[in-house]
Symmetry: C2
Subunit: 340 residues, 2 copies
């Protein structure tokens, strides 16, 4: 297994755990075990992965020298402590988003990451697991729409689908807030698509429009970003209507000096079937670009980064910048009243 990677997965606080386990197994990595202190969560993981070893303690997994990486999907506010401890014990870590719930956690992770040289990745799946988004980035980098002037990112989500949400979800300190959670995807995309190293938060707003029975929970948020080269706008919400046949009509819209791109990641409303709809308008016409053959390179690149100590899959500095902007947007957000 010298060329591949061995990981353990810790925490099933969110079904995102399965996505991360899935991409690693799909890329040839080996899972040495799963740990969660909730037996119900562990039982659900065994149902999904019947061969999964769930007998080992967290300490045994963290101390096992054959384990390279900890997949970290514990509760939002506990994620940093686990990721930092994993780095201290010589392991890389791949978190679900949000990577942090406080700036103090981020500061400590940056410090320990620099000391140990281990990696603290956050899986920004709305780019890294989205064929339309990966393809859009290829087109942008090839100059198809000129310089990117603005990115627009919409991340609507369904609050209650097949799964109910745990109690901690509705506690602002434990959840960390809507901008820090959902908008981190779109902040990642803003920086990547515009080639910006950092950004200024021009405006940030949060509010509870529909789910007022949960006062510690925000179901709407938006923010404006700007960098030296481009502008960005992000809207996220938990207001996906029940009638939408997917969890959210997630979109990325790019305005360039020579064209525009719209990625309809999950659904093309009353249009074509399937996912990953990519519409390009340039100086010559309108084109629907197929994303069928697009590779999602993240897991492969990350496994190589773990092995070779390179920084290709999701550069560490970029990852921390995204988390910092998400935390700062959340902390500075104006609360909307949504009266009426």
């Amino acid at each position: 297994m010298a060329d591949s990677l061995t990981f353990a997965a810790v925490g099933g606080a969110h079904p995102h755990a399965f996505n991360q386990i899935g991409i690693l197994l799909g890329a040839g990595a080996r899972c040495a075990g799963f740990y969660d202190d909730d037996p119900a969560v562990t039982a659900a993981v065994i149902t999904r992965y019947p061969g999964m070893d769930t007998a080992l303690s967290l300490d045994r997994l963290l101390d096992d020298p054959h384990i390279d990486l900890i997949v970290n999907t514990v509760r939002h506010d506990r994620r940093a402590a686990l990721g930092i401890e994993a780095m201290r014990r010589g392991k890389d870590t791949l978190c679900a988003k949000p990577g942090f719930t406080t700036l103090a956690q981020l500061d400590e992770a940056r410090r320990v990451q620099a000391q140990t040289g281990r990696r603290y990745w956050v899986y920004f799946s709305e780019r890294l697991a989205s064929r339309a988004t990966v393809k859009a980035l290829d087109l942008v980098r090839a100059g198809r729409i000129g310089r990117v002037v603005q990115t627009l990112g919409f991340g609507p989500h369904r609050l209650f689908g097949g799964n109910q949400r745990p109690d901690w979800w509705f506690d602002s300190a434990q959840h960390g807030g809507i901008l820090n959670d959902l908008a981190s995807h779109q902040i990642d995309q803003f920086l990547i698509f515009t080639g910006s190293q950092n950004a200024e938060i021009a405006s940030a707003q949060i509010g509870t429009a529909r789910f007022r029975e949960y006062p510690g929970f925000e179901d709407f948020g938006d923010l404006v970003l700007r960098s030296d080269s481009a502008a960005g706008y992000i809207r996220v919400d938990w207001l996906t209507p029940d009638g939408l046949p997917t969890w959210g009509d997630v979109r990325l819209m790019l305005i360039g000096t020579e064209g525009s791109i719209e990625a309809r990641k999950n659904i093309d409303l009353d249009g074509r079937a399937g996912t990953d709809h990519l519409l390009v308008v340039d100086q010559r016409g309108v084109e629907r670009v197929s994303c069928d053959d697009v590779e999602l390179p993240f897991a492969r690149q990350m496994i190589a980064d773990v092995r070779d100590r390179t920084d290709t899959a999701l550069p560490q500095a970029h990852c921390f910048t995204v988390c910092e902007l998400a935390l700062r947007a959340q902390a500075s957000a104006v609360r909307l009243s949504f009266a009426g």
Copy 2:
């Protein structure tokens, strides 16, 4: 003609003049004449409307007691003076947008409008001439998507199409700026769709991303609005690529507590033919709502308002509030650098 209306049209600084003349003639109004001090503009109007009387001076039109209303499409920065003079001479006025280029003009128009009881309308055609938008408002007022949480309005435009732009277009004082010009449409829609009397400007940005040869001209702008009940985001630009088969992929997206609406006003990219595409998602499903039979009531209502001194077509206070927000957004906008 007791039941109808007689108007004169002044200024052909923008093809918008034809739109306003067209809706009035279509609603049964009579045009008493056209005036522009540029013979080339007058010649173009005669080509379009061969029977148009272009022999009368501006003063003769403004003093004619049989003329009820002045259609006002002179240069942006001259519009207020003409509209105010029309009101002083006992006439209502229907401007193209922008209605004003300075807050001082708006203040004077408010004062004279209150004194004279005449009307100063601005033709927000991206709502009033858009069947999909009129239908969307019907659906919202019928409660189809619950309370409106946010409006998103995108107003991309093509800078150079069949017509070149006059020199004054690229002078910021004469043009008045992108947010004051284009975003006034979306500000109107924010207030109307959310039922807000007014709004706060949370963020405003402008910049010149592509057409840098015109330093007094902005080709990108955006702003964030909030009211007691809702949030709004607006992006406008002059970056429509040549390959788009219309002047702009103008959209309105509404998020409600019980559903969402997307109006693709001019084009459904690689989708259905024609204009006025209205997509509704609610708790039951996704529906494409036909706009074929939608009436555009603005001209009919305005003619009745002129006759009956009612305030139904575009309430005067609302119209001035839109103009004020557009002027304030423009004046407070942060300039983006778009380096690179």
